[in-house]
């Protein structure tokens, strides 16, 4: 058997519904996050991952409510810190599949520093950023991906700052898998998530996920989103060109390369504590 080949799926024993918990989501009717949830369950089922081998880790925000809605292991942590939480879990338990559920505020504002370093470390995580360009849970403030002229109570007339480009930032920071999907395109996200989960490094999947309550105009994404029509490239220069030429509404895998080798691979124990302690004896 070729040890480099990906494991074959021998039989399907899991259905999408096996990953859904009985906790009722707090999301508004029509929220894009329902589509992400459904797509994640389908992707996990197609990968035939036992729910107990999957951990969904999140911070705070509408998107971050996802873990409790799954039948996987979950960790709903604090605002912005899902990535280090997930990094610690994955490094300590590399055999688990670890998925981060985050939003534009959680991942890119309060968690911006962790976002950079998670990309740089390239630990085998799948980070889903459900991007609706608004803080929904706190009822409608601008996020780092909000356009400068979007009016809100806290920033009348618009925040006035240019939005961040998460995928370009991720590329510069060292992520080895960079993709964008749209929550209204379930088959598309299922495909992206399957590829992201199978990718053995840090995989960023930005999902345009409309906030129907505070950004009802985002319902128009259904008509505006379009396939990028590109194959993944492993060339960062080409990827940068794609991402900077992009209108922010194209979907697909923009960049994928072999992940960096882990910096501190787990090694089996080579000494016992008695030998370590002996160094203190005079």
């Amino acid at each position: 058997m070729n040890s480099m080949s990906k494991p074959e799926i021998l039989h399907f024993s899991h259905a999408a519904k096996d990953y859904k918990s009985d906790v009722k989501p707090i999301w508004c009717p029509g929220c894009g996050h329902f589509g992400v949830q459904a797509a994640l369950f389908r992707a996990l089922a197609q990968l035939n991952l036992p729910p107990e081998q999957v951990a969904v880790v999140s911070g705070i925000g509408c998107s971050s409510r996802l873990p409790a809605y799954t039948e996987c292991y979950g960790f709903h942590g604090i605002h912005g810190r899902a990535l280090p939480l997930a990094t610690g879990l994955k490094l300590a338990r590399p055999e688990l599949t670890v998925i981060v559920a985050s939003g534009d505020g959680d991942a890119l504002s309060i968690g911006g520093n962790h976002f950079l370093h998670a990309c740089r470390r390239d630990v085998d995580l799948t980070c889903i950023v459900m991007d609706n360009a608004v803080y929904g849970m706190t009822k409608g403030q601008p996020s780092p991906t909000t356009a400068p002229d979007w009016h809100s109570k806290i920033a009348p007339g618009g925040p006035g700052f240019n939005p961040l480009q998460p995928l370009a930032v991720a590329l510069a920071a060292g992520a080895s898998f960079i993709a964008r999907g749209f929550s209204g395109d379930p088959n598309g996200i299922v495909h992206l998530l399957i590829e992201a989960i199978r990718h053995p490094g840090f995989a960023l999947v930005q999902v345009l996920s409309p906030c129907v309550t505070y950004r009802p105009e985002e319902k128009a994404w259904k008509q505006q989103v379009h396939a990028a029509g590109v194959e993944p490239t492993a060339d960062p220069v080409e990827a940068a060109r794609r991402l900077f030429a992009d209108d922010g509404l194209s979907t697909g895998i923009f960049y994928q390369r072999q992940p960096s080798p882990p910096t501190a691979p787990l090694r089996p124990a080579s000494r016992d504590l008695t030998a370590i302690e002996a160094a203190f004896a005079l």
Binding site: E52, Q53, R93, A269, A281
Partner: protein, 575 residues
Amino acid sequence: MSAPFSSTDPIAIAIMGSGGAGAITAGGLLLEAAGRAGWQGLMTRSVGPQIRGGEALAMVRLATAPISAHGDRFDLLLALDWENAERFVGEVPLDANSLIIADPAAGEPPAALRASGAPLLPLPLAQLAKGVPEGRANIVALGVLARWLALPLEPLETVVVRALARKGGSAAHLGQALAVGYDAAAGCNGFRRPLPPVLDAGARWLLTGNEAAALGALRGGIRFAAIYPITPATDLAEWLTPRLQQVGGQLIQAEDEIAALNMALGASYGGVPALTATSGPGLALMTETLGLAVAAEIPVVVVNVMRGGPSTGIPTKSEQSDLNIALYGLHGDAPHLVLAPTSVSDCLFTTQWAVQLAETLQCPAIVLSDQFLGQSQAVCEPPPADSAAPARVTAPVSSERYDRYALTASGVSPMAIPGRPGQQYTADGLEHNPHGTPSSGAADHQAQLDKRRDKLLRHDYGAAWAEVEGEGEIAVLTWGSAAGPVREAAARAQAQGLAVKAIAVRLLAPAQPARLATLLVGVQRVLVVEQSHSQQFLGYLRAHYLLPTDIRILNQPGPLPIRPAAVLAQLSQWK
């Protein structure tokens, strides 16, 4: 006039020099050699904030009995040079019975030191060193000190050669440099302050408090650590990294302290006992995540090596001023463990105990060490052999519905570990019901608050909660590194006929009012000793314990240590 000192009094030596002169190296080698010869001792280093250069001071105290504090004075100051020496004048109290040894080529000692009345013995250390190939003044100085202490040259030569030969020094030349110093001091009249011989010294260990804490963590079962560099906790991490790898674990350098604690929490959620180490500014960043560990009931240990605060404060110097943030820094009602080692070597026991308690009680434990404990190097008796750590209570696989936060008699609910089928749950900082489902209901909040409090209160912490020495109607209440001078002052008070009970609280949270009440039966007066400007420990005691009305407080901020004589002076006023 009779000799001012008993032959069994500890001996304190300060070695001073500009960065690179090797003062700290010399101090460490002297301590190690004395330890090999059977003595116990302690070395504290004092350095400025400079990365290279600046002035360095090694403070070594040697005795036949365990040493856990600075003394009141120094017997000897050996100066390799006087550059920036003024900075350390306050840290090296001298008197007319002290001796200053210095190279005349380095110029006059600072006036503040001369004012002590200590006689000056000029020795041309640099010139003597030049007479030996590869000769260095600090090694010549060690030879001088060996003569003064009546320390056999053999153990000194062994440690010097072992330490410096790998840097390219020839064993013969190093021995020659020691001998030159030894011989040069021979001609000095009355030049002796001999250490009494130790006849039946058992095995000895030499380690810093940060090393001891890291070893305690390993003994407790820590196999994952995530750390952001910060003085004076970084050397704990640097010691730990290769050792963790050797026992099959890992240490990762995080992007900040918030990430460090979250990484540790993620690993621990995954079933791998985890730790971080930091100092005040880092602990401040970690407080929100500590609340998550409380709410989600996940074991994790934070070793906080205190330094002068607030803000950047005095990063290289010791202070006990993070007590309040460790006890009260978490938002909400967030019961957790706070422990403090009472000596350099106790950093091992206390950290190991903290890991065991955190794992048993499924909550965060903060270990309050400090720069003095963490970066002092001590010769001590080896700790007892490791004992089996109680394992985390994990949930057995069963077909029944799994309630992660089930209400149990002990308050501890069995924890599921990811990977185990049928027990999937979501750990949550949101308030939740026993199953783990988020809940904002009053009854669930009350029940889970009670659970998280009661699991800590119902645990039997045993006698280790405090270290108690002596009996008397005067008690000294202290904690952490302040226990060192208190221990020494109490022993001196006993010798003077004043019965004193010294109590160093090791388990600060949860408070143990019933246990302290038992200890204070018959105690009429209490002296509180702590190294904080705002009397944080006194405030803590008043909040949680019943105390006699007759209370004195001895408190001072860092960086100067509390000296035994200051404690004794307070006690003597009650005589």
